[in-house]
């Protein structure tokens, strides 16, 4: 009886434990190990030490992919926080059709990235795409969108007649087009999370502010924004982690991260090195670097959160 007691809990745990150890724990460890070896498709070659890592350091393409990914995160983050907070605030103020709007806003989130990538690729097509029709309707010049390697700042200042140096060009319009689509895809989720957060804020704060004569805008910045900050941190963390893993859009919408590599993101880079070039040791080293970056940012955000929490 006694021994049965001791063993029984492990039996419940066993199926999940076995699967996770085999298909998660071992591969994660293997990633580290492989990154130190010369590794073709199936056979482990000789031990290389940190050679892959130092090669990555001098790999222009790797840095470009990292930079591109950083642009994605830098632009997607503020948009994925500000817009959903506005949406949630608006949704929180209405009674009629609330469910309808929530459903509409959430639709992109449940649909598959592969399918919506096809749709957006066609939206951005130069000849008959919706994006250029929209610009035409506004009376603006049509753009090349996914085929445009020039930076968005370059294009913007050019339209004002100002030339700016190349390094100030910013992300390419092609990458920016993908960022817009990526933000669109995730907005609904963040909106729902914010909406739940807003409903947790006690009405008493707003009533007190009303009595004190504070306007709606001041109430938003002085009550809502600080009290919703735990939600903001959660949204921030999730959006960062998801953005770093962007892959399907690049695979579906671009020609191998083109034009001129300006849409090559880090996960696509890893995929290409591993499964196209079959340099799996090298690709694993890049994956490990990505892991360290994500882990570092996660820890940083946790620290910030513990300092700012209300």
């Amino acid at each position: 009886m006694k021994t049965k007691r001791k063993i029984e809990p492990y039996l419940y745990l066993l199926p999940a434990l076995v699967i996770l150890l085999l298909f998660r724990f071992i591969p994660i460890l293997m990633s580290f190990v492989i990154s130190f070896f010369d590794f073709g498709v199936t056979d482990i070659g000789k031990f290389l030490g940190f050679a892959h890592y130092s090669r990555l350091f001098g790999d222009q393409e790797f840095w470009q992919s990292m930079m591109n990914t950083l642009w994605l995160v830098l632009i997607a983050l503020p948009a994925s926080i500000i817009l959903p907070l506005i949406f949630a605030q608006l949704l929180n103020q209405i009674k009629w059709l609330k469910g309808f709007f929530r459903t509409i806003y959430f639709m992109p989130f449940v649909t598959s990235l592969v399918a919506v990538s096809i749709v957006w690729k066609i939206i951005y097509s130069e000849q008959a795409g919706l994006a250029n029709m929209f610009l035409q309707w506004l009376g603006l010049e049509p753009q090349l969108w996914l085929a445009e390697p020039r930076g968005i700042f370059t294009l913007f200042f050019q339209s004002l007649g100002v030339q700016i140096p190349g390094w100030m060009g910013g992300p390419s319009l092609a990458l920016f087009s993908i960022i817009i689509m990526t933000v669109w895809k995730g907005l609904g989720y963040n909106t729902i999370i914010y909406l739940a957060g807003l409903q947790n804020i006690s009405k008493a704060y707003y009533e007190a502010a009303d009595i004190d004569g504070a306007g709606k805008l001041r109430q938003f910045f002085n009550i809502t924004v600080p009290l919703i900050s735990p939600t903001t941190f959660y949204v921030l963390l999730m959006t960062t982690i998801v953005s770093f893993q962007t892959f399907a859009q690049i695979y579906m919408m671009t020609d191998k991260g083109g034009p001129l590599g300006t849409t090559k993101l880090i996960v696509y880079y890893i995929y290409e090195k591993g499964f196209d070039k079959l340099d799996m040791g090298y690709a694993s080293a890049a994956a490990i670097i990505l892991f360290i970056v994500i882990l570092g940012l996660t820890l940083l955000q946790r620290r910030l959160e513990s300092k700012v929490n209300y």
């Binding site: 809990p9 929530r102 459903t103 639709m107 029709m133 309707w137 739940a196």
Partner: protein, 331 residues
């Protein structure tokens, strides 16, 4: 008065933003019902419209292509029923311009795009594969997660905290980090290009375990005490108390799991090669490469692949939205 104004402004903004969110879907649907030439003509239309010329040949109407008009003369190609240039007439035929007329039909829906997309690509196979993988994965996830979460939430054992934190830290490692090593690992099993490779690694889900654990912990202790007095076994408590009281959270996890498997892409793309094994997303990605100029067929295929998930979503949107909100608000 101010309140009414504020409310209408709120609604106006919600409608504008909402339109921006759904416009890609509306356009997808309308493009999937157009002819390719109609799409190429680049008229900003959401309702498919068809325009063609008709030649009225003494009471008999023929669909024609108008090549040119010279004064009173119109040069036309006469088309047969399949839309090809008819061999029964001269290829360039001159007729009085007054006998040729422009017809425009709106709306005109070309559902044959769906049929044609299906003819080109075995979407039915892809669909069946996806369904098979999604459902087996779901069953696995539910069994392993209910059991593991029960151990974490309700049982005491040595190393519980250690295993818990091991799971937690594994959950924080994103898939792209271990997809290459998994490929190598599955290759050693000879599992590449098999259904197992798409299912077995995913039948344990850490997030689901944590979701269940949280719920199982919140069940009142008195129920378990009473069951224990009645001589109920540990397994009996799981099947008679925990599971019946967890229908909501099990439904939630099922929806997450189904949507996740249905939409998963990188893993099946990498782990399978044989066309018979392709899941919907992978099949769609190949179709995207093969038919890159056939916009309307691509849109039809996209519409078709999105439809099942959207249908589930619309049917259970209230529960699904609540689930996502709840799962997002940790502790």
């Amino acid at each position: 008065m101010r309140k009414i104004f504020g409310q209408s402004l709120t609604y106006a903004l919600l409608i504008i933003f909402g339109f921006a969110m759904v416009v890609p879907f509306i356009w997808m649907l309308s493009t999937s019902l157009m002819t390719q030439s109609e799409f190429n003509k680049n008229e900003a239309i959401f309702i498919p419209k068809e325009e063609y010329h008709v030649w009225n040949d003494a009471g008999k109407e023929h669909k024609v292509i108008l090549v040119d008009t010279k004064g009173e003369q119109a040069i036309i190609h006469v088309l047969d029923e399949d839309g090809q240039i008819s061999p029964d007439y001269q290829e360039y035929m001159g007729v009085p311009a007054s006998e040729v007329e422009l017809v425009s039909k709106r709306p005109s829906f070309h559902f044959e795009n769906f049929v044609n997309a299906f003819k080109k690509v075995p979407f039915a196979t892809y669909f069946a594969n996806t369904l098979f993988v999604s459902i087996l994965t779901l069953m696995g996830v539910l069994v392993t997660s209910v059991m593991a979460a029960y151990a974490f939430a309700r049982l005491d054992f040595k190393g519980k905290d250690f295993i818990f934190y091991l799971f937690l830290s594994m959950m924080m490692v994103p898939q792209p980090i271990y997809v290459i090593s998994s490929y190598i690992f599955l290759d050693k099993f000879n599992w590449l290009d098999t259904y197992q490779a798409l299912i077995v690694p995913w039948i344990a889900n850490i997030f689901t375990i944590f979701l269940f654990r949280q719920h199982f912990k919140s069940l009142p202790q008195e129920l378990f005490d009473a069951a224990s007095i009645d001589g109920c076994s540990t397994f009996g408590m799981l099947t008679r108390i925990v599971i019946p009281l967890s229908k909501g959270v099990i439904a939630t996890a099922s929806v997450f799991s189904l949507i996740g498997s249905w939409n998963s892409f990188m893993w099946p793309l990498v782990m399978t090669d044989r066309p018979e094994l392709r899941v919907l997303q992978v099949g769609l990605s190949y179709f995207n490469q093969e038919a890159s100029t056939q916009t309307t067929l691509l849109m039809a295929a996209s519409t078709f692949s999105i439809l099942p998930i959207l249908l589930i979503f619309f049917l259970a949107q209230k529960q699904i939205l609540a689930s996502y909100a709840k799962a997002g608000l940790k502790d």
